[in-house]
């Protein structure tokens, strides 16, 4: 930690915690919504996973049941502001998997709904919306990456030990 660098507080330094606060709560809301909308219908969430035709049948059910709860857990950690950088990395990793899965579905010519916020499974030819789904997920990915870069934010449990975060 060089003292000369610490003196210069740029506008970014001032704004970053607030931007991070927005990103954190925004991403928390997105993950909680995505998870909660899916847990209500276990058949749907399993079918959404099956629709991608990427996992063996033995894994489809367990993944279909678990992913929504993983999303809820990440959403709760984000809302609490706990281990924000690590949680940001996990969210980004999960989003990259989702983006890759949607792109692979598009490339293979599958006609499915991404099942991102409930639903999922087969849709009619011409009813796919892979483009908007990927663009939306990339938007969410930026929020997660921002939190990896600038994890310090307001109203967070991490805030108590700010010395650890530059």
């Amino acid at each position: 930690m060089s003292p000369t660098l610490q003196k210069q507080r740029t506008r970014l330094d001032v704004a970053a915690p607030w931007i991070s606060t927005l990103a954190r709560f925004g991403l928390a809301g997105i993950f909680l919504a995505a998870g909660l909308l899916k847990v209500v219908d276990p058949q749907s969430s399993v079918q959404a996973v099956r629709g991608y035709e990427l996992l063996p049948e033995s894994l489809v059910t367990i993944v279909g049941w678990a992913v929504p709860f993983v999303e809820i857990a990440l959403g709760l950690l984000l809302a609490a502001g706990l281990f924000t950088r690590l949680v940001g990395v996990l969210c980004a990793a999960l989003l990259l998997v989702f983006i890759a899965a949607v792109i692979s579905a598009a490339v293979r010519g599958l006609t499915i709904d991404c099942g991102c916020f409930g639903g999922g499974g087969m849709v009619g030819i011409g009813e796919t919306t892979y483009g908007p789904e990927v663009i939306r997920d990339i938007g969410f990915l930026w929020l997660a990456l921002w939190l990896v870069w600038k994890p310090r934010s307001r109203f967070s449990l991490d805030h108590a030990d700010q010395e650890e975060i530059e």
């Binding site: 847990v39 219908d41 276990p42 058949q43 749907s44 399993v46 079918q47 099956r50 367990i62 049941w65 678990a66 929504p68 709860f69 993983v70 809820i72 857990a73 709760l76 950690l77 706990l82 281990f83 639903g119 999922g120 499974g121 087969m122 849709v123 009619g124 030819i125 449990l157 108590a160 030990d161 010395e163 650890e164």
Partner: protein, 229 residues
């Protein structure tokens, strides 16, 4: 970096956070396992009407038919009992359809396709068993009313008892032995031959129905205004 007072707290928090995540994900998976394995719940109005139903013959490639013979309007439905949109559609227009059948205005031709999972196939077989035993229509409603279930043999026979009071032993055997497995395949093939690519797909007197814009009211109007055969 010197020792910070917050260090132990941080470790405690980490342990709590990891434990919480494990509880949420593990508990969640256990919850879904329970929700899909439990016994079916009651079907509203299911035991009220079986008098109007007659045992149906199960013929290869032909749908199961519900409603009174000679009804002027025919609605054809291609559905998979594990297709979420099919369950949504049934929830929305089911009561209207049932009422129209009971008043003798509509015959429902059901093609219970099976392409989603093992439960779809078992449920499709079971609805044929139920139709044969004379309680196909309420059984069909019961399958959709409990669409979160995975449809094991015991769940399917339990639903039979719920719908028919006590289902005959022949029904239980039909479910357990998958007696209509070939018919289920013939239904899939028939749907394929008719160019049905997804479920739910619905026709009224042979004309495709736009399901996205369908409401109980518009369905009622369509039934009323359909040219009688």
């Amino acid at each position: 970096m010197t020792e910070q007072p917050g260090r132990t707290d941080r470790w405690t928090l980490a342990v709590v956070a990891v434990a919480l995540v494990l509880v949420i994900v593990g508990g969640g998976v256990a919850l879904q396992a329970w929700r899909t394995s439990r016994a079916p719940s009651a079907v509203p109005g299911a035991t009220a009407a079986p008098a109007a139903l007659t045992p149906a013959n199960i013929t290869s490639g032909s749908p199961v038919r519900f409603g009174q013979p000679g009804a002027p309007v025919t609605i054809t439905m291609y559905a998979d009992f594990h297709c979420p949109h099919c369950a949504d559609l049934e929830e929305k227009i089911g009561p209207t359809l049932t009422a129209a059948q009971q008043s003798g205005r509509v015959t429902l031709e059901l093609y219970p396709m099976a392409f989603i999972d093992a439960g779809s196939t078992a449920a499709s077989n079971a609805v044929a068993c139920a139709a044969e035993a004379g309680f196909g229509e309420p059984y069909y409603r019961g399958l959709f009313a409990n669409s979160a279930l995975k449809w094991s043999t015991s769940q399917l026979t339990a639903l039979g008892d719920l719908v028919a009071g006590t289902a005959p032993e022949s029904f239980d055997r039909c479910v357990t032995d998958s007696s209509h497995a070939d018919w289920v395949q013939s239904i899939n093939a028939a749907a394929d031959a008719k160019g049905v690519t997804g479920t739910p797909t619905m026709f009224l007197n042979g004309n495709p129905v736009d399901i996205a814009s369908l409401t109980p009211d518009t369905l009622e109007t369509m039934i009323e205004q359909a040219p009688h055969k």
